[in-house]
Symmetry: C2
């Protein structure tokens, strides 16, 4: 199969929660979802973070689910008053929502095991938008759900990660984007910028990224260099470009380090 002819399959991530916007919580879900999807041939092309406000969630869901092949939301599916994601998803799709028997059964079963009382509040976690299918939660039981092309996961990274295992089989991916990188210790972006720009023109289907880094040493001095990252669905072109960049880094007097 000619990988170049395969369509790009795209995803977006919508992080729901005041705690990420306020800076209290460092998000880890975007990275783990992107790293999970890459080998399946799905590229994350946009991410948004919105507060726990229904209109904001509904607007973002409706914009993003039409823009990409798959949308992943995280956060807001617990039992408390600030957990409004399930209702917001139902509103976005214009469908009803209620406690559903299959979801309730899963939650009851988990709570029996741990001897936790199943309160009315906990039943809230069995509220699932009409027509959605459940996503297994191997960590704490209460399921996520899939509504059309939208996957709704928990916000706790460990639980979100567990739920992704029940999603892989639902995804139709495209060509897998491979990534390779060369590090040039001591290399400054400006030294190699012209050559990279020319290379990018020669290889329009390959993405060439240049990322300077600065490491603070114990004596307070900065050690700097540049990481050059090449991404493509075409292994052959990826090899060609990485070989050329490696040679460039050498010519400029730096030791290229492949990763």
């Amino acid at each position: 199969m000619d990988m170049g002819e395969m369509q790009q399959v795209t995803a977006a991530v919508l992080l729901i929660g005041d705690e990420v916007l306020s800076g209290r919580t460092q998000d880890k879900n975007l990275q783990q979802i992107a790293q999970f999807l890459a080998p399946l041939g799905v590229n994350v092309v946009e991410c948004r973070v919105v507060p726990d406000i229904e209109t904001e969630i509904v607007d973002a869901v409706n914009t993003l689910r039409q823009k990409v092949d798959y949308l992943f939301t995280t956060g807001g599916i617990g039992p408390t008053h600030d957990d409004i994601t399930a209702d917001s998803i139902a509103r976005a799709f214009g469908v009803g929502i209620d406690v559903r028997a299959d979801a309730l059964e899963i939650i009851e079963h988990w709570y029996e095991k741990t001897g936790t009382p199943l309160t009315e509040t906990r039943k809230r976690m069995a509220r699932i938008p009409d027509g959605a299918s459940l996503i297994e939660n191997p960590v704490t039981g209460a399921p996520g759900f899939q509504t059309g092309n939208v996957f709704t996961l928990a916000g706790v990274p460990k639980i979100a990660r567990g739920m992704l295992e029940d999603i892989a089989h639902r995804i139709e991916g495209g060509a897998v984007t491979q990534s390779r990188s060369v590090k040039g210790e001591g290399l400054r972006e400006g030294d190699i910028a012209v050559q990279l720009g020319e290379l990018q023109i020669d290889y329009p289907d390959v993405s060439i990224g240049s990322y300077p880094y600065f490491l603070e040493l114990q004596d307070g001095k900065l050690r700097r260099g540049t990481q050059l990252v090449v991404r493509s669905t075409d292994d052959g072109k990826l090899d060609e470009v990485i070989t050329k960049i490696t040679a460039l880094v050498s010519e400029l007097g730096h030791e290229p380090e492949l990763a």
Copy 2:
């Protein structure tokens, strides 16, 4: 001054860069910008991450700068072909862009100090949208810039953090949102959800958030609990709510831990 009467001042963050979306880079800028703005009385209410594509950047800049008081962008202001933020900002504002003498002078001065040749490519970093003011970069010299209510910073977190120091004096903040939290070790969200919901109704101006946590112990077991976070611009109400929540956690048989 009655803090309740002060207007809420809002900000959005736009992270520009394929490397965050691909999962290669874990973003740190949203958190550090939010934590920098909070004591100034500015709340981050939305964040977006977009790839290095001009139309995507322009659309996001124009949507967000009209929605909030201040917009912060990070990434894409270096010397390489994938650094298209300055041009995108100029396009978003419908203004011209060119190498500017004051920016070039700063960059020349820095390169003289380090003995680095000032190539044509490096001059690219002196391209500033017409009418913008410069933002000092104490780490590597090449400045950021302010265009209207939009602050354009570097993507490298250390440099972005340095640039924020030249921004505080340009911000007119509102009431400062204070945050306090109580941790209930062993507390499950469902145990306290009803009471929190009622408290939220009694205190509509106070934001009450409930965040379960799961720590994996060495024996493989999970230690779980819930962090309750209260945020408000009103110190008195914040105290009242935190006192009530602390009492609730105690009543439920868990040791409340204030933070």
